[in-house]
Symmetry: C2
Subunit: 168 residues, 2 copies
């Protein structure tokens, strides 16, 4: 895909203003900007993480295990915490197992539940990947830390509304 020489969202906005009365063009521009930003950032993060044979989805699951008290979590809990469907978590854990970063272990009490446990190799990969991402400022360039802070603040009420936590 060649890069457009003009801003496609500004162009869509112009079309919107021409065709529709009283349309929420600021909201339209915001939602399409968020969608494009997500595509850009995901591609950048995946490119950075390829050096550790990770994708961002696998990295997120690996970090959750890394931070967990015992280095292990039930798959259902990973699904809840990352807010992704259980099928995706199963797939992500499979890939992490293939790379030796995670192993599946049976739950001590509930024999039907499966735990994912981070391995020493997984811990090393988690550290290296985090240093990579931190060194690259999470691929947010050219936005400054202050602009990132503002994005986080502005999006928080939307997340709170959808995810049911208290935004205050």
């Amino acid at each position: 895909m060649p890069s457009p020489q003009f801003d496609p969202i500004a162009e869509a906005r112009r079309q919107w203003d021409t065709h529709w009365d009283d349309s929420p063009t600021a909201q339209m521009a915001a939602v399409t900007s968020i969608f494009r930003a997500q595509q850009i950032l995901l591609a950048r993060l995946n490119e950075l993480l390829a050096a550790e044979d990770l994708t961002f989805a696998r990295y997120e699951a690996l970090m959750l295990l890394y931070y967990s008290r015992r280095g292990e979590l039930p798959l259902g809990k990973i699904s809840d915490r990352l807010q992704v469907h259980r099928a995706s978590v199963t797939n992500v854990v499979d890939k992490l197992c293939e790379r030796g970063y995670v192993e599946r272990v049976p739950h001590e009490i509930d024999r039907r539940a499966v735990l994912a446990r981070i391995t020493p190799e997984g811990k090393r990969a988690a550290k290296k990947a985090t240093k990579l991402l931190n060194g690259a400022d999470m691929a947010m360039a050219p936005l400054t830390a202050q602009e990132c802070e503002r994005l986080y603040d502005t999006l928080r009420p939307l997340r709170a509304d959808a995810d049911g936590f208290d935004a205050a």
Copy 2:
């Protein structure tokens, strides 16, 4: 997936501060907020558009045809303008054809190229879907128009940097 009773990004940020020195936590919070916002908004928009048997991806392609001068565009052009891969465009156009919103026609000059052309039924669906989305403020609640404008402005330099247009 049950809703978390706490903010999972604020929680991740706390972990980050504890474990890593000099880490770009504002950038980490921003990128994960954008990813979560994208999930939330896509689900909301798809739910709204289901009434017209559309998804947001199909809606975007349909509107591009709706706004085009002749009501038709080559598939490659749709791919460029929506910044999605050609395979995805083919799939989206297939689905729009199944619903009778779009038809494939051969290019007048370049016989190897295929055009997608919006049908009268497609135009009606485009209008109805746009009224639905406009009436719902593009699912951006509880964010105000002013906050949406700020999001658009803040994200613009990131898009310009990645997509090669002039942000000025």
